[in-house]
């Protein structure tokens, strides 16, 4: 079969793996965007920058405090999440009564500031971050070589996505969250501190972005621009999936990563644009997105 298509199985499975890796990042980032959008009605343009900062926190922790990768998985989300909470308390909070577009513009401005700052400090070439020793090496699966770290990224991000889904859809806290998304005034009338919930939701969504950043650090190098182009693709993923459903954004994220990987094998010229083309087709057929509710 492979001979017929003129494609080696190594290339095919290699690209499928890269697709799955990219898909993990699409899924984690679009999940964070969806959670934030649900509560704050804001599209968080800073998401890409916060993902980048997550990677920088990991690099910084290793370089100056000798804290390894596993510590970074814990520290980066907390640091960046706390930074997000400060942003929400001091700035975003003032915009909830205004048009949603102002939230987009504000977070875009913050993203520019952060990106410019890191470019000034570190340049655009990127810094290497080593794969943790326990995840080095790989498995020979017969048809392909599977690096351990890449397998770890896919499994870990799947777990993170499922835990998030469980938290929101199956716990009491999650039910408050979903209720407050539907009708914040009513939930507040029941004595639940909705503003604090909004703040923590933003911190959580941003923390997810930072976690994705730490996962990405050993694969893509730590680079001030790593989030900027990614976030645009993630926006397209969000438009395709619709932001109505948690599992929807996870499935869409992974599926689009795989499709992108396959495009690299079969028609490499289109690999950069395939997700945008799919977005256009979905908009024509199902404007609300695959899993979306009509706005």
């Amino acid at each position: 079969m492979f001979e017929l298509l003129g494609i080696s199985p190594q290339a095919l499975f290699g690209q499928l793996l890269i697709g799955l890796i990219n898909g993990s990042f699409y899924a984690m980032l679009s999940l964070g965007l969806a959670v934030i959008f649900g509560m704050l009605n804001i599209i968080n343009f800073t998401h890409g920058a916060q993902y980048m900062i997550g990677a920088f926190v990991a690099w910084y922790a290793l370089q100056y405090f000798g804290l390894n990768y596993w510590w970074s998985l814990l520290i980066a989300p907390i640091v960046v999440g706390a930074f997000g909470i400060v942003l929400e308390r001091t700035m975003l909070q003032r915009l909830y009564k205004l048009d949603h577009l102002y939230g987009l513009l504000l977070t875009f401005g913050i993203a520019l500031i952060l990106q410019g700052f890191f470019l000034n400090e570190f340049g655009s070439s990127g810094l290497p971050y080593p794969i943790p020793p326990s995840l080095q090496g790989g498995q020979n699966l017969g048809f392909m070589f599977l690096p351990n770290y890449r397998a770890w990224v896919i499994v870990f991000s799947l777990v993170v996505c499922l835990v998030t889904w469980y938290l929101i859809e199956r716990t009491k806290l999650g039910s408050y969250l979903r209720a407050a998304t539907e009708n914040p005034t009513l939930v507040q009338a029941f004595g639940i501190n909705v503003p604090r919930m909004i703040t923590l939701t933003y911190g959580f969504g941003v923390g997810l972005a930072a976690l994705a950043g730490v996962l990405a650090a050993p694969i893509y190098r730590v680079n001030p621009l790593m989030g900027a182009d990614l976030i645009i693709v993630v926006f397209a993923v969000v438009v395709i999936g619709g932001m109505g459903s948690i599992l929807g954004s996870v499935v869409t994220g992974f599926a689009l990563g795989i499709i992108e990987g396959l495009t690299k094998v079969f028609y490499p010229e289109a690999s950069n644009t395939v997700i945008f083309v799919i977005m256009a087709i979905v908009l024509l057929l199902k404007p609300a997105g695959l899993f979306g509710r009509t706005a």
Binding site: M91, D99, L101, L104, I110, I113, G116, F117, L283
Partner: protein
Amino acid sequence: MTTAAYQIDAPAKTTTLTHQYVAFGIMTAFFVVAPIFIYPVFLMQALCFALFACAFNLLIGYVGLLSFGHAMFLGTAGYISAHAAKVWGFPPELAILTGTAASALLGVLAGALAIRRQGIYFAMITLALAQMIYFFALQAPFTGGEDGIQAVPRGIMFGFLDLSNQMTLYWVVLAIFLFGFLLIYRIVHSPFGQVLKAIRENEQRATSLGYKTDHYKLIAFVLSAALSGLAGATKAIVFQLASLTDVHWTMSGEVVLMTLLGGLGTIFGPVAGAFIIIAMQNYLAQFGQWVTIIQGLIFVVCVLAFRRGVIGELGRYLKKPL
């Protein structure tokens, strides 16, 4: 509806527009005198971006649609007109027209897709479509990839205006800018423009009054795309260059910034905003990434504390919408 919160003061009364004519007179007089004491190339750059920002403002200011991908129209028109002038040997007026038409066509396609969603989805869709155009420009054979199309001939317009003369070129650019500006002014104050504002304020209401809002939105989108294209095509002829900078998402962000700083939904705001941002970029060019940081800061300050923009605040102070 989401679009009600723009801080635009009392709707312009179409009967008392004298002060806008006065303001227009002052602006035109400034541009006529300016080349004596300001470097004409800077003025031409600012005029092209001013037209770009005015075209963008037609959409955000008067229909309430935030496009985050307007660079695709600026850049596409630039590439097409540069290619037409250099490879096909078109005279400049035809090259500019070809570029503008290409952007209008792209506007029909992108607009038809984007208006299927509203609010922030609209912004995300336009951004994604523009990114697609960016990758296309990066890979297509005729765009020259990272180099862009260089050494575009300026040529002789209408057979007698030699554009290699800098002052002739300046007057042509000024004429194109004023044409675009007055066209937008005319659109905004026409019955069509009133319907657009009705859609901005309350789309459902406009629908219930019998307006096909999608048609109006699409026409406004195409007009905005075509005028952005006119700006991009002119810019390509002036600077003899079409490059990836003009299709990159940072350019889409810059035009939002110019309009926001000048004042969303004001007639003169985008012009002022474009001049301020272009001047800032020229003076701060040697400081590298600080330009990005300052642009980000301006975004934050404008959104948090200065939502009317420079001209919006001035108009409020004078109690007259500008």
